[in-house]
């Protein structure tokens, strides 16, 4: 389809452009590759995600499904075309409302909205939802996007910049937002160095197979240009990686045997035009398929990994008290079982990046959540010293856990090393879905007891988690689940076991909550049964058992700053209102029934009983530039903004004066990985300590008291204290090796203790808490579920940025809703975004967020993490609401209409 076919002329953003375009080429490809208009994103190449939406003669179209030839003579508008000299009113509204998180869907959203606003300047929410229905977003839950589009006609005043000391708590725009809305943000696929070649992988079509690679030299020679093939045999270092070093078991490319569909066995490197002419399905490889099993339903004959008998990767265990005695002698016992599916992260940006040699250093600019882990593992695979690998995280178009693991980094790194040229790789949607990690499918059982008054007496939990072909974060899931399966409730006797077991399914890794969302579904649904048995209101039952300050967790840890009771108290009025609304609706009769459900969460922030430090450097240059070296990858959640807000207030200078540096392993100290809801707390605390240290230094130099005010005017730092004033002339001070005249660098590592053989210890230094109410409507004849409202109360200790916190809640609810109602990844069957469904704008409920501040004694300024907490209560709250509405007891996710209908029938 890509042989030259003359040229094609059209108008792009008001300019006449000509492109040499084969007729079958996609408009998206011509815009990005030929015209270098990288603002138009490609998420699926199938019209499912809408990220590539552009205007063709004013009408929104998917550029990926528009043959370039069809654009001939037409007028095309891309996000670059609406940006002009800066952000237009719609783009400013996106910033003001926090409508862009990772930003990958933003250009498509903006273009779809532009088409609507051109005809309807003051649209209703329903009109907006309809207009953006074809553009998927995985971060925001759409709420703030709809807000922004509805409010686009408002003329905004310049944003008030918070005074020093007032940044924390302020609803400020994200500091890195502008490039996301004007289309200049550089994601993994958006940087194309001069002379770059493309890399494509040959992947296994089988779940399990051995293979032999044939004559690749002859095969490559048939291509119309130079083609190089590299396999496991070309890997110079140790062809084995893993996110947790003792469990490392995954090859960058398989050598002779594959354990999952989609596993890479070779890479093909060539000029893009050459690659386009090659049929990769003709690659010379002979497959010898082996017996395989992708679910826990069937037991394999042989272990996937020789060192792991019974395919058992690890067992997590927590025990306290005599739970058997407790449950034998208690007033009420309820039990349940639950099964969940593989869930795909479905970020709108498939993995992408580019590697190039720079002197003796290998640079890799790719999507990631863990730059230092990428550097260390890539260096080991490629046989390079760590300092010779530089990881420059590209803007990540969503992550949610899957971009913690290596994906293409070693592949493009190897290609660049071998060829000496920049090498780029962009995963197709299918490749991304097939080969990267998923949420663990779980099969769980639980028994929980309470006394006659409703107080929990004991709980037993047992779960098998399908960890897929390789270890990835399986150990973390198996350890986290037993620690958290009690929920945020006082449970005096407890025994919980979670096993991570290998199958030939996709590798299950990290996904927002590390197994805790699955466990919470079982515990919270069984709690509804117990409340009923105890004759208590479901919220009152939870409130009665809520952990209190000074209580011990199931790990024996004394807890402080416990906010679950405050969250439940905040929900009491909304709960009763919702119950009244449902009762009123149901009184009218009919085929639709409404119901209300509630569920809680708790979640420990940071690694489980293991070190996970972050380091922040803040410095002032001789010319008065104030830099913060912020190494935490911002995957849309807002680390760049909140970490700087904390630093600004601790230092006492306005946030607007900070320049962000990094992340970049050559420029920023290690801030660890963006996972486990740890960045705001741990990197935030490092920023607090560094800023405080710098302030102390400045005050000591000027001999001023703690309450002194700092002002940075050009090259002068002015310190005033009442009537006294002192100037520090920055250019007069000596520079340190980093180029700073004043600077501080501080490291913070949470004070935790490892778990003993009974899971007793102090696994986390800080926990966050929350609870959510779901209001649903069930069609009793079709089995469909519509979630109308969610009310979410989350204890964040201290709100750093309410807009970003709400954005996390809304986005977490969207993912929780998807997990509850529609998402099920089936290897080989759902490797696209029309068979794997995620919520669209029209699926979202109205969401009310209630932010609770119960300060944590350890967290910086009292704050706690939030990123994963927000997803945990959503699915169980929805399931409890379905049961309340219809009587249907769902025991397998997702609650697809046919399962809901079968469950309704089972009640009759």
């Amino acid at each position: 389809m890509n042989r030259p076919f003359g040229s094609l002329t059209f108008t792009v953003n008001g300019e006449r452009r000509t492109a040499a375009a084969a007729p079958g080429r996609r408009l998206s490809e011509v815009l990005r590759e030929d015209l270098k208009l990288f603002g138009t994103k490609v998420g699926c190449d199938a019209g499912d995600c809408g990220a590539c939406t552009v205007l063709l003669d004013g009408a929104p179209v998917c550029a990926c499904l528009t043959p370039a030839a069809r654009a001939s003579g037409a007028e095309i508008t891309t996000v670059e075309g609406i940006s002009g000299q800066g952000a237009n009113a719609l783009q400013r509204s996106f910033l003001r409302h926090g409508a862009a998180q990772c930003g990958i869907c933003t250009p498509g959203m903006l273009m779809a909205a532009s088409a609507l606003l051109a005809e309807t300047p003051h649209p209703t929410r329903a009109e907006v939802e309809d207009a953006i229905g074809g553009v998927l977003c995985r971060c925001t839950g759409y709420t703030k996007i709809v807000d922004a589009i509805c409010d686009a006609a408002t003329v905004d005043a310049d944003e008030a910049i918070p005074e020093p000391g007032r940044a924390v708590g302020a609803r400020i725009e994200r500091l890195d937002g502008r490039p996301k809305v004007v289309g200049t943000e550089v994601f993994g696929a958006d940087y194309l160095p001069q002379g770059a070649m493309d890399v494509r992988a040959i992947r296994s079509p089988h779940h399990a197979a051995s293979f032999t690679i044939g004559d690749t030299v002859s095969w490559a020679a048939q291509a119309p240009g130079k083609v190089q093939v590299f396999t496991a045999a070309d890997i110079p270092g140790i062809n084995c990686f893993g996110t947790i070093p003792p469990f490392a078991d995954q090859p960058a490319m398989a050598a002779s045997r594959v354990r999952l569909r989609g596993e890479a066995i070779a890479i093909v490197v060539a000029e893009t035009a050459t690659l386009d002419e090659i049929d990769l399905s003709s690659f010379p490889v002979t497959w010898h398929p082996e017996p395989c099993f992708v679910s826990l339903d069937t037991e394999p004959d042989a272990p996937l990994h020789e060192t792991r008998p019974d395919n058992l990767l690890i067992t997590g265990f927590v025990q306290t008290g005599d739970v058997d005695a407790a449950l034998a002698n208690t007033a009420h016992v309820a039990s349940g079982e639950f099964e969940t599916s593989y869930v795909e992260h479905a970020y709108i940006e498939p993995e992408a990046g580019v590697a190039w040699p720079e002197g003796h250093t290998l640079c890799i600019q790719a999507c990631t959540q863990a730059p230092v882990m990428d550097r260390d593992d890539t260096a080991r695979i490629l046989g390079l010293p760590e300092e010779k690998v530089r990881i420059i995280p590209a803007a990540a178009g969503g992550g949610f856990g899957a971009k913690l693991d290596l994906s293409l980094q070693p592949l493009i790194g190897l290609a660049a090393l071998k060829t000496g040229r920049p090498c780029r790789m962009i995963y197709s949607r299918a490749e991304s879905m097939m080969s990267t990690t998923k949420r663990h499918p779980a099969k769980m059982t639980a028994r929980i007891g309470c006394d006659a008054g409703g107080k929990i007496t004991g709980m037993v939990f047992d779960g098998d988690f399908n960890t897929g072909a390789y270890a990835s974060w399986g150990p973390t899931v198996a350890v986290r689940v037993p620690v958290h399966a009690s929920g945020p409730y006082k449970t005096p006797a407890y025994r919980a076991k979670a096993r991570a077991k290998h199958t030939n399914g996709p590798t299950a890794g990290a996904f927002r909550g590390f197994g805790v969302p699955q466990a919470a579904i079982l515990q919270e649904t069984v709690y509804d049964d117990l409340a009923e048995k105890a004759g208590l209101d479901r919220l009152a039952f939870r409130r009665l058992n809520a952990l209190q300050d000074g209580d011990r967790s199931v790990c024996g840890q004394e807890l402080h700053g416990v906010g679950i009771a405050a969250c439940l108290d905040a929900l009491r009025t909304p709960w009763h209102r919702a119950l009244d609304r449902a009762a009123e609706f149901n009184a009218a009769g009919g085929q639709a029934r409404r119901g209300v459900g509630i569920a809680s969460c708790w979640y420990g922030c940071g690694n489980t009983g293991l070190p996970n430090p972050s380091t922040i450097r803040i410095g002032i240059t001789p010319d008065g530039t104030l830099n913060i070296h912020q190494g935490a990858t911002d995957i849309g959640q807002g680390a760049n903004t909140v970490v700087t807000q904390i630093a600004a207030d601790a230092l006492g200078l306005p946030i607007a004066q900070f320049e962000l540096i990094g992340p970049d392993t050559h420029l920023t100290p290690d801030c660890g990985k963006t996972s486990a809801s740890r960045q705001t707390y741990i990197t935030g605390k490092a920023a607090l300590l560094a800023a405080q240290a710098l302030r102390r230094d400045i005050l000591a130099r000027s001999n001023m008291g703690e309450d002194a005010r700092l002002r940075l005017h050009g090259r002068t730092l002015v310190i005033t204290d009442g009537t006294a004033s002192h100037d520090i002339h920055l250019a007069d001070l000596p520079e340190n090796p980093h180029g700073y005249v004043l600077s501080a660098e501080e490291t913070y590592d949470p004070p935790t203790e490892g778990l003993d053989e009974n899971g007793q210890g102090k696994p986390y230094a800080v926990y966050g808490y929350g609870a959510q109410i779901a209001e649903v409507e069930v069609d009793m004849v079709l089995g469909t579920v519509k979630v109308h409202n969610m009310t979410a109360a989350h204890d964040v200790g201290r709100v750093v940025n309410p807009m970003l916190a709400e954005g996390q809640i809304e986005g977490g609810i969207a993912q929780g809703l998807g997990m509850a109602l529609m998402e099920e990844y089936i290897p080989g069957r759902t490797e696209n975004l029309h068979d794997y469904l995620i919520p669209t704008a029209g699926d979202m409920p109205s969401i009310e967020s209630i932010l609770i501040e119960v300060p944590d004694p350890e967290g910086p300024m009292g704050l706690k993490g939030l990123g994963e907490h927000v997803l945990i209560p959503t699915a169980p709250a929805i399931l409890n609401a379905i049961r309340h509405a219809s009587g249907a007891r769902i025991t397998r996710l997702p609650a697809l209409p046919h399962r809901v209908l079968a469950a309704i029938r089972a009640t009759r």
Partner: protein, 286 residues
Amino acid sequence: MRYERPETIVQATHLLAEADSNAFVLAGGTDLLVKMQSDGFEADLVVDIKSIAGMGDVVEADDTFVIGAGVPCAALGENDALVAAWPGVVEAANLIGSTQIQGRCTVVGNLCNASPAADSVPALVAAGAKAKIAGLGGTRMADVLDIPTGPGKTSLKKGEIVEAIVLDKPLARSGDAYLRFIPRTEMDIAVVGVGINLVLDEGGAVQSARIALGAVGPTVILAEDAAQALVGSKLEETALDVMAAACSAASHPIDDKRGTVEFRKQIAGVLARRAARIAFDRAGGN
């Protein structure tokens, strides 16, 4: 791969007739461009029909509407006369994909892609639509019902192109409706789709009915027993019960992740009841 953009239908049919193999017609491209990305898909010839005069037109004559093969589905919703005449057909066509897809995809493409879940096809079949087919020997007319013969397969012969869909003007006291079932709010593939067209007699009872079921068999199913169950009724519960049961009986779906066999059969009946009510209202029944 060869790309051709003929300017007449005769040229197009010749190109297709003379092609060795793997020749495809390009209309909106929303199916073809996705297929072209898949492994092992080979196209030796693509015939782009959008430059052929008349392909992009909806022509209203005294007795008919003729919808050209290049008309995007969005354009159907902008044609007031067509919306008034065949609201069910237009609703079905406007359920395909998102706004972005709507601007490109075509009803003829939806038909010739021959997906068992195609949204527009049950509505067209219920409406008694015909396909105008151009070939080397001239044009012929065929019932839309007879075009798909299995998933991805059609009864079109080599060199034939569906040039247009022809819908008769609706009879007096008639109304049509289409409903589909999907687990998501929008942008999904039908789990079950039901198109119904009812004609009432002067007394307001159903005089004739056509009911077409989608996604419950390899091709669209014309449920004649179900339709017969409504004749003479004013959609009394008993008639609807018989009709719904007949729809379920006529369905022979597959079990897949979107729904079980049992579920799909039941939903066919439930949707048919709801669609029948809408069609009845549109026909002026009460």
